[in-house]
Symmetry: C2
Subunit: 111 residues, 2 copies
């Protein structure tokens, strides 16, 4: 939605996950719905403003679903859509590669 036109599919995918906290958000939402406050605790370091912002972008891209309960105090639950779940699956191999890299870095004395 932002860098169009895309050179390749990778380009289009990276566009969606581009944002300092987005992969962490998607990761946190994997197989569980979360309230805003929970998410904030699951993604350490993120501020409320930026979390809201990135959640809205993910929602606009059809990755997360936002469910508002009209109660007091306010309650909002976030969850992955089917598309978001597919994205998470597609991110699997990348995560595995990164894990191997982390292990290699640690072995090399970086950890």
């Amino acid at each position: 939605m932002r860098n169009q036109p895309y050179v390749c599919g990778l380009d289009a995918a990276v566009d969606v996950i581009d944002g300092k906290w987005k992969v962490l958000i998607i990761w946190a939402l994997d197989h569980q719905r979360c309230r805003f406050g929970e998410l904030r605790r699951l993604v350490p370091g993120v501020t409320e403003k930026v979390l809201t912002q990135q959640l809205r972008e993910l929602e606009a891209d059809g990755i997360v679903h936002r469910e508002i309960y009209d109660v007091v105090p306010p309650k909002v639950e976030y969850s992955l859509t089917e598309l978001g779940d597919e994205l998470n699956t597609a991110l699997g191999p990348l995560g595995a590669w990164g894990k191997r890299r982390m292990a290699a870095l640690e072995e090399a004395g970086q950890g």
Copy 2:
């Protein structure tokens, strides 16, 4: 190397591909070695400075190999290392997901 410590493997992987042109560079280098000038032509829009910068970072992360031929005029060839090749493979599913998204966007009348 920049956002350590990582929360998860995905985090570590994203750190490596973080940079406006890196996935495009990796994509261009898939199964072919390239000279600097070729790469510049394959990655439209990138400037010399930034291309050099990102190539150096990818080199430092062990993703690309830089081969300097000590000739005049200068000649340098870039290629993916084994690790880079593995990364590219890991990026495959993400690229496929992105392609599906592109198709969906086009169908929705965005293209």
